[in-house]
């Protein structure tokens, strides 16, 4: 059965890889990158709070942070239009929670397996969140994280050394240190000692203007990496810094300059040189290497699994009644404007929201770009056709309908029309394009992408089995 996945972010790529592992023929059409390439190093599956938006999660009675497992359970209980409710059911008690927990575990394992050859691992679990620092000193409780930031769990560190790189833009070590100290005061957990240490990189390592991306690219070269390792080793041997904790209890936090590939190997060398844990900060806009690393590792995995990837933009989809038949593509490889026709028996839409182009606005208001599928917000109110400015509030606080809207699906991840019935028999949806949650405030963008991508793949596989039977 010819399956075409539209979108090469985490949702589309995960679905394509899962289908490929089940020996199905998959073509993935990618117009470019979207939110996945703009991710910053963590993969969250469980919302930070059931009530507020963006509140870090703390047990109301205890002083410890809630485990991801508990937050996931809270999400299932309270967010009835979240895609998780679609995936795992809304039943209280154990059934939904254990289904969700199992799905998360196997999803993380699969993703780890796919990314590992590119030097990117998925670390974390549902039992305890990792407290990771971002490049501006905010601490985030992450369920999973990728190699690079993942090693930077601030819990269990007695000393945290923040590397200061001369002339690096978007990174100021001292305010970072102060921010981290304040964060821990707010969290109420035992506080490591934070200090800033210089990282003497050779002249010219940081280009004029201080672009961190250029420095990251430098460490992708052997010469650049050697310079970084040498600088780290020099700091380790620096007697003037006094007596320091050893091994796991000390953490060296680097700015996001660990390059775009092969992070695992780099970190090994750095750890050796530093004599302690080494990690990278989580990134922040503008793009940090973590997102491109993930995108690159997914692309490498797709290539290894022999998924056919077409770099093209989908112009329209051809349909006959309730069946989609083919896609009309405009290739990015060719410079001409010729359209190409690609036949498909099953289509998976994983185009993301506004950043990825799955949602857009024209004179008729907000709409789903390819098929005008009806869009619904978190309360289940239909929003397509409304002007974008009416779907946001003047204050960024609180829910924003524009950014929690998307396609509504049935339990098999098929998009539903206004009548509550699937619009097409052979169309599935995965990732941020599904509505009912806000990827930013609920921090589950990548989690939803991964889980819905894998579920869509298994639904498609089931459909294939039924058809062949």
């Amino acid at each position: 059965m010819r399956v075409v996945v539209i979108g090469s972010g985490l949702a589309g790529a995960a679905a394509a890889l899962e289908l490929a592992s089940r020996e199905m023929k998959v073509t993935l059409v990618s117009a470019g990158v979207g939110a996945t390439a703009l991710s910053f190093g963590s993969l969250d599956v469980a919302v930070p709070s059931p009530e507020g938006s963006g509140l870090p999660l703390r047990d109301a009675t205890a002083t410890r942070l809630l485990a991801p497992r508990e937050r996931l359970a809270a999400c299932l209980r309270t967010r009835l239009r979240h895609p998780y409710a679609t995936l795992f059911g809304r039943s209280g008690g154990g059934a939904a929670e254990s289904a969700a927990t199992d799905a998360v575990k196997s999803a993380a394992a699969s993703l780890d397996r796919w990314l590992a050859p590119s030097g990117l691992r998925v670390e974390g679990g549902l039992d305890a969140a990792r407290l990771l620092a971002n490049v501006h000193g905010a601490v985030r409780a992450c369920d999973f994280a990728f190699t690079g930031p993942a090693e930077g769990d601030l819990q269990g560190a007695a000393e945290v050394e923040i590397a200061a790189v001369t002339g690096l833009a978007q990174h100021d070590a001292r305010p970072l240190a102060r921010a981290l100290a304040a964060e821990f005061a707010a969290i109420g957990l035992p506080r490591p000692s934070f200090r800033v240490v210089p990282l003497p990189l050779p002249a010219g390592f940081v280009v004029d203007g201080g672009s961190p991306a250029r420095v990251a690219a430098r460490t992708d070269t052997e010469e650049g990496l050697r310079a970084l390792v040498a600088a780290v080793a020099a700091r380790h041997r620096d007697e003037t810094l006094g007596r320091r904790a050893e091994g796991e209890r000390r953490l060296l936090l680097l700015p996001p300059i660990l390059g775009f590939s092969g992070v695992l190997a780099k970190l090994t060398r750095l750890r050796e040189a530093a004599g302690c844990r080494v990690a990278e900060c989580l990134g922040a806009p503008p793009a940090s290497p973590a997102g491109l690393r993930l995108a690159g590792a997914l692309a490498a995995a797709l290539s290894r699994e022999s998924v056919v990837v077409r770099h093209a933009r989908v112009r329209t989809l051809e349909r006959t009644g309730r069946q989609l038949r083919a896609l009309r593509l405009q290739s990015r490889e060719a410079s001409s404007n010729t359209e190409e026709r690609l036949e498909a028996e099953v289509i998976l839409l994983a185009c993301g929201r506004f950043l990825g182009g799955g949602l857009s606005e024209h004179e008729g208001g907000v709409h789903e770009t390819l098929l005008d599928l009806p869009l619904y917000d978190e309360a289940g109110v239909r929003v397509d056709g409304s002007a974008a400015s009416r779907l946001v509030r003047a204050s960024p606080e609180g829910p924003q309908r524009l950014f929690s809207s998307g396609v509504r699906t049935d339990s098999r991840l098929r998009p539903l029309g206004a009548d509550g019935e699937p619009l097409f028999e052979n169309l599935f949806v995965a990732g941020d394009l599904i509505g009912g949650f806000d990827p930013s405030t609920q921090r589950t963008g990548l989690g939803v992408a991964l889980l819905t991508g894998l579920r869509a793949a298994s639904e498609i596989a089931r459909l294939a089995e039924q058809e062949s039977a």
Binding site: A31, G32, V33, G34, A37, L38, V207, G209, S211, A213, R214, A216, A217, D220, F260, P285, P286, A287, S288, P289, G291, L292, H311, R313, R332, L355, G356, G357
Partner: protein, 157 residues
């Protein structure tokens, strides 16, 4: 011709002072005389462009305007810069600068296009491939280059 003077009575009645009255009469009379003598074929556009030459105002170019409309989708996400760095495209040119430079017309672009366009760039268009907004960055840069060829490295007024 008479239509050209429509609204005359209403506007004239709003004259606020004697000085204004005389100024209008004098200028109006001179204008009528001049219009009678005006030779057709004087190229007002050339005159305009000459007036504003040192400010860098130039005739719009449909292709350039289309490119600029595309460039305005930029969200300053920085992926172009990151990707350019990743593939080792141009050590001294930030693709975001290219997109931003396309936003300035006239006054800045004359002074900006030359150094931006001159900066060494592989032309690999990796930035363009990675841009989530599908901005044709390579084409934008090429366009700046063509502008730069016309620009003088000016001092500032």
């Amino acid at each position: 011709m008479i239509r050209g003077y429509r609204g005359f009575l209403r506007e004239f009645s709003r004259t606020g002072s004697a000085r204004a009255f005389w100024l209008q009469v004098r200028t109006g009379a001179a204008h009528i005389l001049r219009t009678a003598q005006r030779s057709r074929g004087r190229d007002a556009v050339a005159l305009f462009l000459e007036n504003y030459r040192e400010d860098g105002v130039r005739l719009p170019d449909a292709a350039r305007d289309a490119l600029r409309l595309e460039a305005q989708r930029c969200t300053a996400c920085g992926l172009c810069t990151a990707e350019c760095a990743r593939v080792g495209g141009a050590p001294r040119l930030d693709p975001m600068d290219v997109v931003a430079a396309a936003s300035r017309l006239a006054i800045d672009i004359v002074r900006l296009a030359l150094p931006v366009a001159d900066a060494a760039c592989l032309g690999c268009a990796a930035c363009e491939a990675v841009c989530p907004a599908h901005i044709p960055i390579a084409r934008v840069k090429a366009d700046l280059g063509s502008l730069g060829a016309m620009a003088q490295p000016a001092g500032i007024r």
